[in-house]
Symmetry: C2
Subunit: 425 residues, 2 copies
Amino acid sequence: MKIIAADEFIEKSKPSYSQNLDIDQTVLSIINNVQQNGDEALYSYTKKYDLVQLDNFLVSEKEIDEANDSVDKDFTLALKQAKDNIISYHSNQRETSWFTESTNGTLLGQKITPLDRVGIYVPGGKAAYPSTVLMNGIPALIAGVNEISITTPVNRAGKVNPYVLAAASLLGIKRIYKLGGAQAIAALAYGTETVNKVDKIVGPGNSYVARAKKWVFGDVAIDMIAGPSEICILADEDANPTYIAADLLSQAEHDEEARAICITTSSCLAEKVRNEVYQQLDKLERKEIASSSIENYGRIVLADSLENAFQIINELAPEHLELMIENPTEKLPYIKHAGAIFLGSYSPEPLGDYFAGPNHTLPTSGTAKFSSPLGVYDFVKKSSIIHYSKEALLQASDQIVKLASTEGLTAHANSILVRKEDEDA
Amino acid sequence: MKIIAADEFIEKSKPSYSQNLDIDQTVLSIINNVQQNGDEALYSYTKKYDLVQLDNFLVSEKEIDEANDSVDKDFTLALKQAKDNIISYHSNQRETSWFTESTNGTLLGQKITPLDRVGIYVPGGKAAYPSTVLMNGIPALIAGVNEISITTPVNRAGKVNPYVLAAASLLGIKRIYKLGGAQAIAALAYGTETVNKVDKIVGPGNSYVARAKKWVFGDVAIDMIAGPSEICILADEDANPTYIAADLLSQAEHDEEARAICITTSSCLAEKVRNEVYQQLDKLERKEIASSSIENYGRIVLADSLENAFQIINELAPEHLELMIENPTEKLPYIKHAGAIFLGSYSPEPLGDYFAGPNHTLPTSGTAKFSSPLGVYDFVKKSSIIHYSKEALLQASDQIVKLASTEGLTAHANSILVRKEDEDA
């Protein structure tokens, strides 16, 4: 893990337009095939990529019951507490319709309506991601989405991970497709005989899933195109190097491209953190992945001052930011860009991943400069409401006509004029 | 203009992934060239496409002063009133940061931060779109965006439309680039010597601009990919056919692909509307465009009942919806999907385009099912805040460890365990 000076630390991610041109060919042919051949294409891709021949890709009630029976009680209790916390936090994000009026009879407003149908992609196969189900499903439920479906790849026995099913069951989500990859995204975006077309697709996935989401974007809404996961820890000389190292590694174990960065004003702490990282690394189950991530992308950056550190952070716009400094809450005004901000020594990133309540779907790769965590706001949309009285329209008519005419849109002007002429007549 | 029964009315737009594959080659080569060669590429595209050799593509203060002197007083007054109305409406969209606390020391919250830099694309050349400047600029200003720039193509004399400059000047926007097309989008997305990279690109444009926005999406935020403009008017037998026809035509004059649809329960009204459309069409300046739109896409749909009409509307999810029916406000609960809803006979769509206050940038082509009008919320983003006390973390530690271990992410579990062990020791 390299220790570097602040001015050596410049990271540029490749522009998205040029990425993955190889993947695109595959992804586009999958999307096209699913659109043309529906379920048939889905069965054949599942056979090809998941190596299993399904005769029905809808999870049955029996399978859900079996999953609920098979998961252990401690897991269920922990999941329920996480669910309660996530509901509690996200309930604060509810928006309400509003109206304003004027005495001349104008009424203007904004109406909030939930999306009709949402599809959640849950990665799977070997691994289990019940937390993905909660973090994507709960904001959709709070928003009032009518139909929530889940799609997730199966293992070679044709089964969905029981923890994922238990989490879906806990939220009352019953429409679960045994589908993974770009074909699942295509099916949700355009519909097939079995899969209902949705209005928005959310959830993480591999590079084929991500690229398929980019292609169907516009025909259907998507949450975001997630890049590798990142953590940035700002630490002063009094911070605990053991905690910092553990938190850096919790990010590094995600995948080889994950980025774990520590920024500190103390070169003494920098050394301690590096030593701790290597000590802890040795004991990790996912040592190989974490090690590769730490060597290639892990950095300890020496900042000249806290101000300098804030500058670097705002340029980086990290997905996860931990502030292990004195009085971290008072420093919030200096943080402009980060997906989630963890304050103090007892707010490690995994607390947010699973439990505290805020969403773990966060903007990556610097997109926190312009994107938000997934939230209830992602599952509703707004409509503007405009009502003018006759009096109010006639009063405004000359000005509207003037603006429309300036833009050369005379039929626009005419729509006002036919009403005015009626009055004048 | 065809009069058809409700069950004949099925519209499907082409999926986006297969569209514009020809345009893509051009657009990608432009993006690539701008990234490689910066300003030099911009000058050469401006010469090639706008047929003018510029020696500086920043609009000067002198040019802004000249524009302000050249526009007429009535226009300025109308623009100022529109500005006031737009500010008044959008001020209701301001969001505030919030926090919640628990007695065990947890503090959770959501922090709202404006975007740093936003670029507005304003179409130009022959036409003038000062309303685009107001509708995109004002929500960004209210959000607190630090740097707002405008890019707009020039005419053959190398000049920007004076009305556009006057509108920019009214909002205090001074950074204006004489750039149009995909090259302008590329410059805003990646930056050049002269053009500052932005975090979000908003504003309408031709198909090259739209496609360029789709490609840079992810590296930079975009507002939406706009399709052809649409109006849907729901009218009962008492509605005024002259008003309806005028409003349909105000949409049809936009471009040949614009969709003007009237849904009515009265076949008598349907006939009257059709006659009025043809009568008014003859007198329009933009008759050819409007006529083509009306013939190809204009429809009068006979619904069996209001319920049936609401069903069609929610399926269509029109950009603009006018309700020319009895007690329109009481019918709002039945409208799920529409960009903007205009209530009653004196709320024609052009009122919303220019003047009333709500935004005129609206979701098109059925995307109102999942997208919102442009608003202040498009120019801010959220960060989650998580603070746990030592007590609170220790209390939750077993459950977090359980969830992380179930997902096989043992370094995540370890980040909790190192803190717990410290306590136990």
